[in-house]
């Protein structure tokens, strides 16, 4: 697996390394010649004229041209010849020609050893130790290459796994491929009835991206075949890419790598000038194989990431559509009435919850504006679906019955009937609903009905706070439920606040926010627009929470417009 190219010198090297430290300090022993003969490390002794005085078999095997008694140059190793002549370099590594192929040779100058015979070193002799490090090099190269491939795949995994967005994933896939795998890369993905392409090229900057309908695929038959898993791309692939993307066709060789079937998306990566092809052209089969493996792994990762992104996109789309239909509504413009609202769902990720409010129009004087604020039991998406049912029922019911005191029992019946047809367990809601009618003198008359909900608060323009005492039973509980009714007259600048229990039950470090705190905060907001009042309260409640989890929070403020404190001196006045 590790592809040991060439010399199996591992054991020899180890033996030499173990024994070499002893060499420099050992004076030539009497049986020196035999010792040298046995060395696995090559030893060459030259005199000051560069004539080889001794060379052991290992040295002669490494440098077959070496002849004792002739100048070292005949060994055809320039570095060694120069080192012998000039004394430098004292250590070197060089590639030498060898009948058995190129060898990597490492040499160093060592302590003088006597020649054989005599064993005493002559004046001016130099001794050189040579070692074959071809195998070492090959192993290092293989290891580095393997590390580089592993790092590339790890980086690809890291870069792809968290994206979860199809366009961005597509961009990433092609950006990763260049330049490691090819000079250019184009990804084509089919998801449902859309085809997305992304293209990156060497020095081309940010990957480009485009999309078209699947109906256009017949224009590019080879690509369509590749998308379906056929890797045998015809000669037209490059041209078809240009047709698809509108970019220039790659000039060099192209190669189609279909992404493994994931069941979610079909995809193919087309590489321009791929490296895997170069490798096989060199005839280096081992290298070509590992490059091919790398390409396969990369394509598999790309496929997984694309499938995950596509799945997530489908889910997110579902969620978004649901969210949109359940999200807090925009407040209408109603002559003579000022609205304000705040909404903070408990599950921040989905942005939907069990609290809700609705406000409708009041565009004409005889059709008053109607409003509803409530809370269904539970949290998250289930609660949101139930709240949707309540809202739709209310929207329909208020068209046929405008008295709040009559709408609420009807809503109660509607909810119970809906539950009965589905074998669902009973689901309750609490709510306040009503309508608002400007009286023409700056006041607003409210009719309210409530079931099981915290009583609305009225903030008078002078800062006084009154609770509208009304309770009533849970909505959706029993058919005979009784609900509360009340009427409130808001003078100019007065505000009626409907809120869900998430406001008073917001639990900060230690304590609930509570009705008392709410009633204490309100007077400071006297005279502010309804929207500011709600915003200020929301902020106060969230600060109170101090990062703790909370239930849904919903508020709706109905205000009679204050008398303008300082009419603007405008030119058109």
């Amino acid at each position: 697996m590790e592809g040991r190219h060439g010399a199996p010198t591992r054991d020899a090297t180890r033996a030499v390394e173990a024994s070499s430290p002893a060499l420099p300090v050992t004076p030539p022993p009497p049986d020196g010649p035999a010792l040298l003969e046995g060395f696995e490390e090559g030893v060459v002794v030259c005199d000051r004229g560069g004539v080889v005085r001794a060379a052991n078999p290992a040295a002669r095997a490494l440098l077959p041209g070496l002849r004792v008694g002739e100048v070292v140059d005949v060994a055809r190793c320039d570095v060694l010849a120069r080192a012998v002549r000039d004394g430098v370099p004292e250590g070197f590594e060089v590639v030498v020609d060898h009948p058995g192929g190129e060898r990597h040779l490492r040499g160093r100058r060592g302590a003088g050893l006597g020649t054989t015979p005599p064993p005493e070193p002559a004046d001016g002799d130099t001794t050189w130790y040579l070692r074959d490090v071809t195998g070492e090099h090959a192993r290092t190269d293989t290891l580095l290459a393997a590390q580089e491939r592993a790092a590339f795949l790890a980086e690809a995994g890291r870069a792809l796994h968290g994206v979860l967005h199809l366009d961005r994933t597509a961009r990433r896939v092609v950006a990763l491929a260049v330049p490691r795998l090819a000079a250019g890369a184009t990804l084509v993905v089919r998801h449902d009835d859309t085809v997305i392409w992304a293209c990156a090229e060497l020095g081309g900057g940010r990957p480009r991206l485009g999309r078209l309908a699947t109906a256009d695929l017949p224009r590019v038959p080879a690509l369509a075949a590749a998308l379906a898993g056929d890797a045998a791309a015809g000669p037209w692939l490059a041209g078809e890419l240009a047709t698809l993307t509108g970019l220039e066709a790659p000039t060099g060789p192209v190669r189609a790598c279909p992404v493994p079937i994931t069941g979610v998306v079909e995809a193919v990566v087309v590489l321009a000038d791929p490296r895997s092809v170069e490798g096989s052209a060199d005839g280096d089969d081992a290298l070509a194989t590992v490059e091919e493996d790398l390409l396969t792994s990369y394509v598999a990762r790309a496929g997984t990431a694309l499938a995950a992104a596509a799945l997530h996109e489908e889910q997110a789309h579902l969620g978004a559509v649901l969210q949109e239909s359940l999200a807090a509504p925009r407040l209408p413009e109603t002559p003579g009435v000022v609205w304000g609202a705040a909404y903070r769902p408990a599950r921040e990720t989905m942005r939907v919850g069990g609290d809700f409010y609705e406000v409708v129009g009041g565009k004409t004087p005889d059709a008053p504006a109607a409003f509803l604020l409530g809370d269904v039991c539970g949290k998250g998406i289930e609660a949101a679906v139930l709240s949707g049912r309540v809202r739709q029922s209310w929207h329909a019911l208020r068209l046929v019955e405008d008295r709040p005191g009559r709408v609420l029992p009807l809503l109660n019946t509607a909810l119970l009937d809906a539950v009965a047809t589905r074998d669902e367990s009973p689901r309750f809601a609490t709510m306040v609903l009503g309508d608002a009618r400007p009286t023409g003198d700056g006041s607003v008359a409210l009719r309210l009905a409530a079931g099981g909900h915290p009583p609305p608060l009225v903030l008078r323009a002078n800062g006084e706070v009154e609770a509208v005492e009304m309770s009533g039973m849970l909505v959706g509980g029993i058919r005979e439920a009784r609900f509360a009714e009340a009427e409130v007259l808001l003078g100019p600048g007065d505000t009626c606040l409907l809120y869900s229990d998430g406001v008073v039950e917001a639990r900060g470090p230690g304590d609930f926010f509570g009705e008392e705190r709410l009633a204490a905060v309100l007077p400071r907001c006297a005279g502010t627009p309804a929207a500011v009042l709600c915003e200020h309260l929301e902020q106060t409640v969230v600060s109170w929470l101090d990062g703790h989890d909370h239930d849904d929070v919903a508020m709706l403020a109905i205000q009679a417009p204050p008398v303008s404190p300082d009419p603007a001196p405008r030119s058109e006045a």
């Binding site: 870069a159 967005h165 990433r172 997530h312 502010t528 627009p529 200020h536």
Partner: protein
């Protein structure tokens, strides 16, 4: 009635800002809208109206609040009016269609309720060709993550005016980094030179909306910090995170402790004092988080200049710091910052009486 001299003809941003501020002070929304729209009709660039008139006036509003001239509620009303003005400007002279330069999501840090600067940034970027998604004030990290996954913006711009929100910035940056979306930070929260933007791992920083538009125009994809060496690595180091978490968990206790030290025997802690002491702990936590005592020192200095009735008074800062230092001796960095801040302000006026 129509004989009034034509002040509306003015196109000088300074004059317009004065007129606008006057309408804010009177809580006159129609008047404020009129100032803005009439300026645009008179030929003033909408961007100038948004940034020099509206944003400029809002800065003055902040100063008036800090000087104790305006209440929090007055400030909220003014901000509300300015938000309506921004909306009116957007309707009156809508931004041209996106030019395809990219998509940017603009969000305020979790806990940052001043949404107006981010809203203005969104308007300005839309006028520079960006497709903009404005996520609003105080966006939780989870919501931002959902949005980034679903919509896949090219860039996320986060805005905050309060350095005490920096730990939240870190969470938001991490949420974006997981998707490979670069984050451009903006606003005074990240320091006068943006140094804390690096500390929380953001990819770039811009001091204001105009600079952000310029930065994004030059490099739409980021990262914008030039030297990668300082950028992401281990921002919010372990010690910083741990000590910040301790401060966050003990916040209520520390506020009560400091309040008792500052006004012994006062009984019920006034809300203003509790707010100020809470900010003190928050800024300390943020400073510890980004490992920069200057952040805390800056706040301590600032608190001394602000006049909020019943809030933390200048001569109460030192005893509050003492009380905190005594309670937090187990957290070495926190204690060091507290001592440092105290030393730096040893010359506080002596308590009266």
């Amino acid at each position: 009635m129509t004989t009034a001299s034509p002040p509306t003809a003015s196109t000088d941003p300074g004059t317009l800002r004065e007129a606008y501020l006057e309408r804010l002070a009177a809580a006159d929304e129609p008047g404020a809208v009129a100032v803005a729209l009439e300026a645009i009709d008179a030929g003033v660039d909408p961007e100038t109206v948004l940034l020099d008139v509206v944003a400029g006036a809002q800065r003055e509003v902040g100063d008036r609040w800090a000087a104790g001239e305006w209440t929090v509620v007055q400030e909220h009303v003014a901000t509300h009016i300015s938000e309506r003005v921004v909306a009116a400007v957007a309707v009156h002279s809508p931004a041209p269609a996106p030019t395809g330069v990219g998509t940017v999501a603009v969000a305020c840090l979790d806990g940052e309720w001043h949404g107006l600067p981010a809203r203005l940034l969104a308007e300005v970027l839309a006028r520079h060709g960006w497709a903009v998604e404005f996520l609003g004030a105080s966006v939780p990290a989870a919501q931002l993550a959902t949005h980034v996954h679903r919509v896949g913006p090219d860039v996320v711009a986060i805005s905050s005016s309060l350095p005490s929100r920096l730990p939240a910035a870190r969470r938001m940056v991490e949420a974006c980094a997981a998707t490979g979306t670069p984050v451009l930070a903006g606003g005074p929260a990240f320091g006068a030179d943006g140094r804390w933007a690096r500390a929380v791992g953001a990819d770039g920083w811009a001091p204001d909306a105009r600079a952000a538009a310029a930065v994004l125009a030059a490099h739409p994809d980021g990262p914008w910090f030039a030297d990668e060496a300082v950028a992401p690595g281990t921002p919010g180091d372990r010690a910083g995170r741990e000590e910040q978490a301790v401060l966050h968990a003990r916040r209520a206790e520390l506020v009560a402790l400091a309040a008792a030290a500052v006004r012994p025997g006062a009984g019920e802690v006034s809300e203003e004092l509790a707010d100020d002491l809470g900010h003190l702990v928050d800024f300390l936590a943020a400073a510890v988080f980004v490992d920069d005592p200057a952040l805390f020192d800056g706040f301590v200095q600032w608190v001394g200049t602000v006049t909020i009735p019943a809030g933390l008074r200048t001569n109460e800062v030192a005893p509050a710091l003492d009380a905190l230092a005594a309670a937090l001796a187990d957290s070495p960095r926190t204690a060091r910052f507290l001592r440092g801040a105290q030393g730096a302000h040893g010359g506080l006026p002596t308590p009266v009486g």
